[in-house]
């Protein structure tokens, strides 16, 4: 019984961290219409960034700044935001899909750096023995995990509240207006590129934050936690729940991560070891089917977007359709 409860805590911590990741993606895709094909890269940058900033000093490694966890977390998020700035600057003024291609590229690059830049990232072994925040104050690791869950939930709640506020603010309304109709928004004197850039960077930073929280939880980073499949999983979570809706995003995490965990457990119990890689392919196919079938048959997801039709869009359309009245 205790075993199940402990596993549940573990499961919920991961779910909450992924929920933060999905909310970051929701800001980019759901609210702004920007396609990020390299979610895992921003997550990994946040994780490695945090790890390097808080890690103990080791002669053979670059970094190991032994900073307090909170600073490490912010630093990781800032690095992820910076990466977002670089790809967004290169692509946002161009065709929309160039951002998708460039984010895919950054995911490949981050994976290579994680695997090969031993002096910074520890290579295939990763960085181990990272301090977990305030670990010494707790009597047992289990109690610590429960408290970490509470802390992560609080941070996720804060991100949720921040995003809900942001998308309902005038800034958020302009965001939607741009997603609906960039030309119309431009005609009202809003600079779509600058506002998209802000949303993309903020989203990337939130993903980086999730990465840092993951490091604080498991106490190490290694490339195995940042496989390309994660990007697809996060996307599946977002659209199953319904992009453009943060409540749906959270629901999607539960559904998809639950499906993934259950199918993974089943496979490890039932399928002989010689066929495990094929079984893994089966899991990935489920994720792919979830994405494609949702897009085809339930594009608004389980919950769907709250219909907030932007007054900017309406105003711009009226202005455009009757230019003579201006």
């Amino acid at each position: 019984m205790l075993g199940i409860a402990l596993y549940l805590v573990f499961f919920l911590i991961v779910v909450t961290i992924y929920a933060i990741l999905v909310m970051g993606l929701n800001l980019q895709w759901g609210f702004t219409g920007l396609f990020n094909a390299g979610v895992v890269a921003f997550y990994a940058i946040g994780a490695y960034g945090t790890a390097i900033l808080i890690g103990p000093e080791r002669p053979e490694l670059i970094g190991g700044f032994e900073l307090p966890f909170a600073l490490g977390l912010l630093g990781g998020a800032a690095l992820a935001a910076l990466a977002g700035l670089v790809v967004a600057l290169a692509t946002l003024r161009l065709r929309e899909e160039y951002l998708a291609i460039a984010t895919f590229g950054i995911a490949i690059t981050v994976q290579l750096v994680a695997l090969n830049f031993d002096a910074l990232t520890g290579g295939a072994n990763g960085l181990i023995g990272l301090p977990r925040p305030m670990f010494g104050y707790f009597e047992t690791p289990n109690l610590y995990n429960v408290c970490y869950l509470v802390a992560v939930l609080a941070i996720a709640g804060a991100v949720y509240a921040l995003l809900e506020r942001a998308v309902r603010s005038p800034w958020g309304r302009v965001l939607r207006a741009i997603r609906e109709d960039a030309t119309a928004a431009r005609s009202l004197g809003k600079n779509p590129t600058a506002i998209r850039l802000q949303a993309f960077i903020l989203g990337s930073g939130i993903m980086g934050l999730a990465g840092g929280l993951y490091v604080g939880f498991i106490g190490f980073v290694s490339p195995i936690d940042f496989l390309p499949i994660l990007t697809f999983q996060i996307w599946a979570m977002l659209i199953v729940g319904g992009s453009g809706n943060n409540k749906g995003a959270v629901l999607g995490v539960l559904v998809v991560w639950g499906l993934w965990t259950i199918s993974g457990t089943l496979i490890s119990q039932v399928v002989p070891p010689s066929l495990q890689s094929q079984a893994g392919a089966g899991q990935a196919i489920i994720i792919g089917l979830v994405i494609v079938l949702t897009l085809l048959f339930r594009p608004r997801g389980l919950i769907g977007e709250e219909s907030v039709v932007s007054k900017h869009v309406r105003a711009a359309r009226v202005a455009r359709d009757n230019p003579s009245s201006s």
Partner: protein, 242 residues
Amino acid sequence: MSALLEVEAVTAGYRPDLPIITDMSVAVARGELVTIIGPNGAGKSTLIKAIAGLLKITSGAVRLEGTLRTNLEPSRMADAGIAYVPQTENIFASLTVEENLKVGAQILGGRAARERIAAAYDSFPDLTAYRRQKAAVLSGGQRQMLAVARALLTRPHLIMLDEPSAGLAPKLVTEVFQRLAALARTGVAILMVEQNAKAAMAISDRTYVLAEGRNRLDGPSAALIDDPEVAAIYLGRAGRRA
């Protein structure tokens, strides 16, 4: 008078929830030259785009020689004998002049295509010198010529032109209108949208005046040309114009 083209109470736009033209009706008889005028934003271009099959018609009907042709694919409208010359981007700049004509004649195939293309050069001799050059090098007037030449290759029953005189030098404008009048005399029906209202009305049989996505007036051009109400529609919506 049996109409070649009948557009009945058509509603259309770029998105189903935001119609730009509402319940619009237009008719063109065989060999007739019809002008559509109206202030900016009246929905003139939208109307002919919808007829050409480029925009979704959400209600109403388009009939050609009595047959229902609503929401046909653009290429099927071309087959049915309707040619359309957009106002801008009406030629393929990356293709040579010859290739532009070949695209226009593609449905004819083989020998007929070659003969019609040769005939097009006879009617528009200015294009001959640019045969093997990219259409991007053509001047505004030459582009317009190429677009019209291309549209006429299939000998359509009806040619729709969106502001054929836009951006042309005054001398060329006169020439374009003269050629269109001559074309109409050969039996091709013409439906054109024009900003240059007086000049267009002067050569056309009938005129439709549109405003705010709806029909406002129509009748013989000769009667409307001095009608103060036409001016009022322009003035009412666009004080600085007219």
